[in-house]
Symmetry: C2
Amino acid sequence: MKTISLQEISTALKVSKSTISYVLNGRGDEKRISINTQQMIEEYAKAHNYKPNPLARSLIVGKSNMIGFVLPNIADFFFARITRSIEKKAMQSGYEVVFSSTGEDKEREEKSIQSMLDRNVDGLIIASSQKNEKDILRLTQNKFPMVLIDRKYPDISTNFVGLNNIGGITMLVEHLINMGRKKIGFVSLNMDLLTLNERLNSYEETMKRNGCEVKKGFIQQLEYNHTDNDMERIIKIMLSKSIGVEGLIFSTQFLAADGIRALNKMNIKVPTDMAVVSYGHKNDFDLFKVPLTAIDFPVEEIGEKAVDILLENMKDINMKKEEFYFNTELIVRESCGSH
Amino acid sequence: MKTISLQEISTALKVSKSTISYVLNGRGDEKRISINTQQMIEEYAKAHNYKPNPLARSLIVGKSNMIGFVLPNIADFFFARITRSIEKKAMQSGYEVVFSSTGEDKEREEKSIQSMLDRNVDGLIIASSQKNEKDILRLTQNKFPMVLIDRKYPDISTNFVGLNNIGGITMLVEHLINMGRKKIGFVSLNMDLLTLNERLNSYEETMKRNGCEVKKGFIQQLEYNHTDNDMERIIKIMLSKSIGVEGLIFSTQFLAADGIRALNKMNIKVPTDMAVVSYGHKNDFDLFKVPLTAIDFPVEEIGEKAVDILLENMKDINMKKEEFYFNTELIVRESCGSH
DNA sequence: AAAATAGGCACAAACGTTTGAGCAAATCAG
DNA sequence: CTGATTTGCTCAAACGTTTGTGCCTATTTT
């Protein structure tokens, strides 16, 4: 596993380390190293497969050719896809990616960020838990190249790429209304994330705008780690005579799948007894017992755009903050009835 | 983003760097540093939030407290889950994880491995493309701590954790036979991976053992990047009168989903016209139009076991190679008819 | 009282780079 | 032929650690 060092080339070739370093970094001409010496060095380096030690280099230049990606959970398909696209895009520009999952936990997010900074990453992409205002603030104040994705802090101006949640939810609500459902429930997660809040607010506004009352009980929030029973319980509530929901919006694709599972178990017919839509798409929604109408969005593009902006930011540390929102797309299937 | 260094503590406290280093590494007593000095140093370090620079440390001690995970594709849910479990388990032992996707590409796998070695990872977990015998051999010869998962090289003795493919496929074949299907097709990917080969061989053997002929056309292999049309085409072939398959085994969960999609489109009734099983499980198989019978396996456990073995190997560079195979579980649903 | 031991720390090299400054020899200008 | 410039390289510090050796003083042993 031993790899050759500058020192070894130096003694072998009887040429100083600096000369070698200059040549190998393409500064040979600039430093007026003779053609002969340059060739000799380059040949020797190639022949012995010299690779500069990135640690030593990083230690001195303060850069690492790595970008860090801090995310809630790599086993979340949404983030896994983004990770892949970030990695791909970064690689095209010669950067490597290090990532770290935080489990939506503030302490672990802090640790991850610190660890990445310690390792001299050149920039950060963060899907924050939104509980870590401190670090995000610190990073922006220090003008550290960074872009937030999916989750942002309302009070901090940063680069950001996310979704047009409002447009997406509007489409869902209006689709349900068009299919003849007025009493529409909204099930979301009990997490204080801006994305989720935007979705909730957009639901309420769109309902009002269309003259649909949002009755008490129409909105249900589950814990992040809810059980199947929890889901059944809230569906039961929304179906009760006093509430009588006829359509359901699930604010994430995972909730939607869980919801369908509960509806199946409770023997509630979709779409007859209950129309269902999902904000967010999963691969096999089309294969479900009743194929699910859902909002899809360009996941890979989020990662790519984030890298684009980050690279810009790394070039120009004083660049104007950039926000980018991807539009979503309504994929109509059968879970709200047919036209 | 500036962080305090040993040097700065040294000048501030008028104590040599070495003393500080010893104290902060818990070797103060051993090095007979007086209680007073130790306290002073520790307090100052805590107050100024001193964190040793991992690069500098790694450069000199040759270790990094990182383990590397090389995998085909992080957006593959199977590997994403493993990644998560590796990360979790490694963290419990104070290690960080760096990962890199290779896209099943030999060159990229080589690059990833080299890059990780350059960064002084203390050990490697590799889900290899199985096209990189050279590196794997080199690593084992150099006694570099490593464990292969899911994919292995028949000719190289390494640590390995994978699945009991033979047992899994046997269960599937025999389940189909028990459900009255004798003419069973097998669709897999046209990739030279040991796991896939094991599955194929096990299929053939189990068929023979149960007196079922494996006719020409029963076995179909698709390209990794096949289209929906490709899938429909091979299903059409297997359904042709001369072949007349009554049951299908898909050798991966992704193939299974694609297969179901094709069957739906072709209006072939499951299980009446075609019984279907999947080797490998996906989250929403239970929500499908006809819930899918599948082999499930302990994905997270693969990652955990790999970390366990790797840590052992890092402790004892000469340990005996360990192979571990997880058993699979048959989850019976409705895609082969009811009992 | 001299020698040995213990206590408490500092020195300096090492890891493998990068980089500004500088130096000797060769070439040029006048 | 002298001084200036160019050519071709070397020196050494720096990045932030770790670690073996060694030094000085104080205490104990003999």
